[in-house]
Subunit: 385 residues, 2 copies
């Protein structure tokens, strides 16, 4: 397989974008990535989107958006893995370049979630879980993550305050991100005093419903060198793994096996370990998710994820900064776009162009993008050369 580089990235300002269609949102991000890459065409494109059907009444997004970009007849492929759709779209684009099938590929992610009412959005999101065995019983995502949180608190002594500190940290980071949906700072008291959704998860433990898109351009590493791209950003690893989709089928409610498996593969491909990472962008769809993800990535020992944010370990100036972008929590979570937005953050961090939220000496960044309660995970590692 050929080595692959990322040479461009783009993202629109996320939020409740009622005045814009999905085409406009997506095109803003795609054109920014293409412009950032300094190319005048792409040979193929991928679109990560979770539920074009339920959120927008529009499937066939690969063809629609290739057309919208004015780049037909290039192949446009839509990829879906619930909230990991964006990361998976990037991975398919990576394979298309690595295989030699294409030389310039655009990877994108999109979700337009706020044109339907809250009930419909909740239903659409629940299709990421096991409909027959989970959702049919009446549970939705906050409830599923609440069960994981309760189990983690019970077994490891993780506290309500520790969960709140994840939100505090990510909103602090997001307050320095001009594209974030909720760039306000929050206090632990505000999180703990916010409306209860599914005990122990409160509204400020949850990532929001968002309209947004993000994109990246991939080429062979050799091409990037010839283009004199500086700094070169190499895709050092690309991994994807799955787990039992229904919580009740898993051996351990407190362990994200798909994340652990994908991370293991990614570390092996990149020839690095968790202590080598400069920073991570991870899937904090709920505060408990970040706690469990950093354990599965090996950033902290099993059961020790709760104290990481509280102790400053994952802060911008901590040992391993986690979610310098603000994460899903503050930046927003248009489900199909999230994985690509993580990658956009890594590209800008590795270029060291992130201003106030810049991670010092960023050299090696990891992204972890997860579907459902972790039934699928996509992990990428990027290196500044």
């Amino acid at each position: 397989m050929r080595e692959v580089a990322v040479i461009g990235a783009g993202m629109n300002r996320w939020g409740e974008l009622w005045e814009k269609s999905h085409r406009e949102i997506w095109t803003e991000a795609a054109l920014e990535a293409i412009d950032d890459a300094g190319v005048d065409h792409v040979e193929a494109m991928y679109v990560g989107c979770m539920s074009g059907g339920l959120f927008m009444g529009q499937e066939h997004l690969g063809a629609l958006l290739a057309d919208q970009l004015g780049m037909g007849p290039i192949p446009g492929t839509r990829v879906e893995s619930a909230c990991a759709s964006g990361g998976l779209a990037f991975r398919q684009a990576y394979l298309a370049v690595a295989s030699g099938a294409h030389d310039i590929v655009l990877a994108t992610g999109l979700e337009k979630m706020t044109d339907v009412d809250g009930g419909m959005a909740t239903y659409a999101l629940s299709t990421a879980a096991d409909q027959e065995y989970e959702c049919y019983q009446g549970i939705t995502f906050p409830g599923l993550y609440a069960m994981m949180a309760r189990a983690h608190m019970e077994r490891y002594g993780t506290t309500r305050r520790q969960l709140a500190e994840v939100a505090v940290k990510n909103h602090l980071h997001g307050s320095m991100n001009a594209l974030a949906q909720f760039p306000m700072k929050v206090t632990a008291e505000q999180v703990e005093g916010s409306v209860m959704v599914a005990d122990p998860i409160r509204i400020l433990d949850c990532s929001p419903i968002t309209d947004g898109a993000a994109a990246a351009v991939l080429v062979p590493l050799e091409t990037a060198k010839k283009m004199r791209v500086d700094p070169l950003i190499r895709v050092a690893a690309s991994a994807h793994a799955t787990d039992r989709i229904a919580l009740h089928e898993r051996d351990d409610l407190c362990w994200l096996a798909s994340t652990a498996k994908a991370a293991e593969s990614a570390y092996q491909q990149a020839g690095v370990g968790p202590t080598d990472l400069s920073f991570c962008e991870v899937h904090d769809c709920f505060t408990i998710a970040e706690v469990m993800v950093i354990e599965a990535l090996g950033l902290v020992d099993r059961g020790r994820g709760g104290s990481a944010a509280e102790g400053g370990f994952t802060a911008l100036d901590g040992r391993v900064p986690v979610n310098p972008s603000g994460g899903l929590k503050s930046k927003g979570h248009p489900v199909g776009a999230t994985g690509l937005a993580q990658i956009r953050e890594v590209v800008h961090q590795l270029r060291r162009s992130c201003g106030d939220r810049q991670v010092k000496d960023a050299r090696l960044g990891l992204t972890q993008n997860m579907g459902g309660t972790g039934a699928s995970t996509v992990v990428h590692v990027f290196e500044r050369m």
Copy 2:
């Protein structure tokens, strides 16, 4: 890129399968393909499905079905390109093997369409078209294809009887396929006397709403040789192209540009031309579609597609047999599965195990799988070695 072979294929009996869940249908096809391949595991899998959300209330099918197969944590990727989702899932699986990322990959397609009512099914299918500029005006797929049919009749003198003969031929072929949803023969008079849907398209010009799945197993050609697979079936070409999604944006209502483009690329990859093909499986979602597809594939001259079925050119014993399986028309059209079922037919034809519907001396088979009114097309060419 590595050369790739198909070593197994599977498909369930298609129809209105109310007594079976999507999991069961999919698993029947997947296990048959794995068993047929003689392997005991796969390293990755792809699922083509158009609208899991609208038809079944279930997205995240890559993870769900990897779990269902008992093969987690393998990567499970869902791919969508409307009715070309199955062909595109096969293409992504092909790239995964060709790139060296994986050595044994399962490509599958699935759609469970009859658990919703007809209005919902029609709405779900319409999400393959341009919702904002086409469907919002009230048009659905029979209407879109009816406009293409009218244009073709007007410009080229294609007749109502010629359209009927496509249905007659494909039902004759399908009558020899034990897995077909509608394996009855029909006469041209029956087609022309059937209920009008959208003038000139009548109900017997339309492919049906179907529950079904199909699957194939891909490995590097070298591996297939070591396994002493006989006959070896090589993927000689894999191509994907797009076109303007909305009919009104196209230069020519009578020309399927994405099919022509994908075919051109496929012929170039395979080093063959349309006259070299032993047979084709094409996307006859409506009778007019087959007429236009065989023109875009270069099997007949532009404007001459109408007379092909009528004159016996595309019959089982004709110059180029088209849709020996019965096509979408008789076999059924579970949209995400169709592309994989075409490939299953090719595998069995190239093995020369198709009994009464066997194409004589089948050596080179082409599949053409199309999304919407041709906004996307995936073409593959397979060679018996």
